[in-house]
C-alpha cells in the first residue's frame, strides 16, 4: 500500500513541478530553462514569508505573484525577442537561471534554509500511516490540473491560447493579440513554477541550486507530454511510478535518474513522445 501511495504522490509532485514548464512550452514553443530558478524563487518566498513571521500558507499566493511578475519582466525583456530563435531562448533562459541562482546566493547565502511545515503528521490510509503532506500534494496536483483545464477550456484567455498553439498566423489574422497571450502564458507558467517551489519546501532542502535538480526531469517529462496536461499527468504517473519502483527495488541512486532515462528511451523510440505517438 505504501509503495502504491509513494508512486501516486511522486507522480503528483512531478506534475506540480513540470506543469509551469509545460504551460510555457505548449503555447510559446520554447523551453524555459530558468524553470529551476523559478522553483528556487518560490522556495525562497517561503523562507522570506517565514522570516517575516507570516502564516506559512501565505507563501503560496506570494510566490505565485512574485513568480508571475518576474516572469512578465523576463518575457518582455529577454524572451520576446527570441521567439523565432528557440535555441537562443534556451541559452538565454539557462543563463538567466544561473544569474538568479547567484543573486539568491548573494541575498540569502549558500546555506540550506529551513521553512515551517505546511502540514505535518500522518494519516491512516487503509491501515497504513502515510504522510499527510504527500497526500496533500496529490490534492494540489489535482487542483492545478483542474485549474489549468478550466483556464484552457473555460476562459477567453484559454481559447486564445489554444488558437495560438494550433495556428498562430490564423490567430493573428483574427485579431488576437498574440503578444498578450504569450505574456499572460509566460506569467502563468512562471507563477506556477514559483508556487511549485513553495510546495516542494517540505520535501527537499532549500538552497540556491535546489531547482536545478528538478529541471532535467521536468524537461524530459514535458518533451514526452508535448503540450497536453492530461498526457503530462499520464507521463508523471508512468515515470514517477517507475522511479519509486527502481528506488525501492534496485537503488535510490538509479531511481534518481529513472525519469530522465526512461523519457529519453521513449523519445528515442517515438520522437514525438506520448502526446502524438
Amino acid at each position: 500500500m505504501t509503495l502504491l501511495l509513494d508512486m501516486v504522490t511522486t507522480a503528483a509532485i512531478l506534475f506540480i513541478v513540470a506543469a509551469g514548464l509545460l504551460a510555457i512550452f505548449g503555447v510559446l514553443k520554447i523551453i524555459n530553462f530558468a524553470h529551476g530558478a523559478w522553483l528556487t524563487i518560490g522556495a525562497y518566498c517561503a523562507v522570506a514569508t517565514a522570516g517575516l513571521g507570516l502564516n506559512p500558507w501565505a507563501a503560496l499566493p506570494i510566490a505565485f505573484a512574485v513568480g508571475a511578475i518576474l516572469g512578465g519582466i523576463t518575457e518582455q525583456v529577454i524572451v520576446r525577442p527570441l521567439y523565432r530563435r528557440p535555441l537562443d531562448a534556451i541559452l538565454a533562459t539557462w543563463g538567466l537561471g544561473i544569474v538568479i541562482g547567484q543573486l539568491i546566493t548573494l541575498w540569502f547565502g549558500r546555506d540550506v534554509q529551513f521553512t515551517p511545515n505546511l502540514l505535518s503528521g500522518t494519516v491512516d490510509v487503509f491501515g497504513v500511516g502515510y504522510s499527510l503532506y504527500r497526500l496533500f500534494a496529490v490534492a494540489a496536483a489535482l487542483v492545478i490540473g483542474l485549474a489549468f483545464t478550466f483556464l484552457l477550456e473555460g476562459t477567453r484567455l484559454g481559447l486564445s491560447a489554444q488558437a495560438v498553439i494550433m495556428n498562430e498566423t490564423l490567430a493573428r489574422a483574427l485579431g488576437i493579440d498574440t503578444a498578450r497571450v504569450r505574456l499572460a502564458t509566460f506569467m502563468v507558467g512562471t507563477g506556477l513554477a514559483a508556487l511549485a517551489g513553495v510546495l516542494l519546501t517540505p520535501l527537499t532542502s532549500v538552497d540556491p541550486n535546489m531547482g536545478v535538480a528538478w529541471l532535467i526531469g521536468s524537461f524530459m517529462l514535458v518533451m514526452v507530454a508535448g503540450s497536453s496536461f492530461s498526457t503530462l499527468a499520464i507521463a508523471c504517473l508512468v515515470f514517477g511510478g517507475a522511479q519509486v519502483l527502481v528506488s525501492t527495488f534496485v537503488s535510490p541512486i538509479f531511481g534518481g535518474i529513472t525519469v530522465a532515462v526512461l523519457c529519453a528511451l521513449v523519445l528515442r523510440i517515438s520522437p514525438k513522445g506520448f502526446a502524438r505517438a
Binding site: R156, L159, A163, M166, T169, L170, A173, L174
Partner: protein, 244 residues
C-alpha cells in the same frame, strides 16, 4: 447603382487604397508598384493565374508580408506597421484560403474567436445564421469534420461576425459546388447591401467574381495587367488574361 458608386469613388475617400505598393518574401519581390483604390461599399475582384501575387496582396494589406515601398491606406489613414489586432478591431475582416479554421476546435469556438469577448456573441452569430442557417445545428461539431463547402461557409461566417467594414476574401469559391458558391455570393451581396461592406475578393472563378463585383483587375507577376468596371464584355476580356 454602379455609376453611383463610381461617382462616389471620384468624390469620396477610398475605403482602401494601395499606392505603388511593393512587397515580397526575403529577397524575392512578389508585388511591384501596385496601385488600386476601392470605394466604400464597392466589391472589387482581383484575379490572375496561380503564383501572380494575389494572396500576397491581401497578406501585405494585413501586414503579414512586409511592405517594401509604397503606402496602404484605410479610410485615408496609413496602415503600414499597424498590427493585425488593431486592423481587425478597426473593422477589417479576413477570410483566408488555406489553414483558415482551427480544425480541432468546435464551430462555436471558431466563431467565438472572431470576437474579443463573448459579449455580443449571441447577436453576432444570429446574423451569421441568417446567411448560413446550417451553422445553428453544428455549433458543437468539430470544425475539421465539416464538409469542404461547410468549412468555407464557416470561414466566411466567422469573418462576418464582427460586421466588418472592409472584407478581404481569398479564393473562397475554390473547389466548391455551384450551389455553395451561389450561397456565398448571396451572403456577400446581402452583407454589402445591409452593412455597406467594402469587399476585396481574390478569385480565379470568373462567373462568381464577376457576378458580384463592381470592378476588377488582373494581376500578372505582381503588377496590374488590366483593370476596369464589370460590364458585358468583361468575362471575355479577363479570360484572355487567364489563358494558359
Amino acid at each position: 447603382m454602379l455609376e453611383t458608386r463610381q461617382a462616389e469613388a471620384g468624390t469620396t475617400m477610398p475605403k482602401l487604397s494601395l499606392s505603388s505598393v511593393s512587397s515580397g518574401y526575403g529577397p524575392v519581390a512578389i508585388i511591384e508598384a501596385l496601385s488600386l483604390a476601392i470605394a466604400p461599399g464597392q466589391i472589387f475582384a482581383l484575379m490572375g493565374k496561380n503564383g501572380m501575387g494575389k494572396t500576397t496582396v491581401l497578406k501585405t494589406i494585413l501586414g503579414f508580408v512586409a511592405l517594401r515601398s509604397g503606402d496602404i491606406r484605410l479610410d485615408g489613414a496609413s496602415i503600414s506597421g499597424v498590427s493585425q489586432a488593431s486592423l481587425i478591431a478597426s473593422g477589417v475582416g479576413y477570410a483566408p484560403q488555406e489553414q483558415a479554421l482551427f480544425q480541432d476546435l468546435s464551430v462555436r469556438d471558431n466563431l467565438r474567436l472572431a470576437l474579443r469577448s463573448d459579449r455580443g456573441f449571441a447577436e453576432a452569430v444570429e446574423r451569421v445564421y441568417g446567411h448560413f442557417p446550417f451553422l445553428r445545428e453544428r455549433l458543437s461539431q468539430r470544425a475539421g469534420t465539416l464538409s469542404g463547402g461547410e468549412q468555407k461557409m464557416l470561414i466566411l461566417g466567422r469573418a462576418l461576425m464582427l460586421r466588418p467594414k472592409l472584407l478581404l476574401i481569398d479564393e473562397i469559391s475554390e473547389g466548391l459546388q455551384p450551389s455553395v458558391v451561389e450561397r456565398i455570393a448571396t451572403a456577400l451581396k446581402e452583407e454589402r447591401r445591409s452593412n455597406g461592406t467594402t469587399i476585396l475578393i481574390v478569385e480565379q472563378n470568373l462567373p462568381f467574381a464577376l457576378g458580384i463585383a463592381d470592378s476588377w483587375a488582373v494581376l500578372k507577376l505582381g503588377r496590374i495587367d488590366d483593370a476596369g468596371d464589370v460590364s458585358e464584355g468583361t468575362a471575355a476580356r479577363v479570360m484572355q488574361h487567364l489563358k494558359i
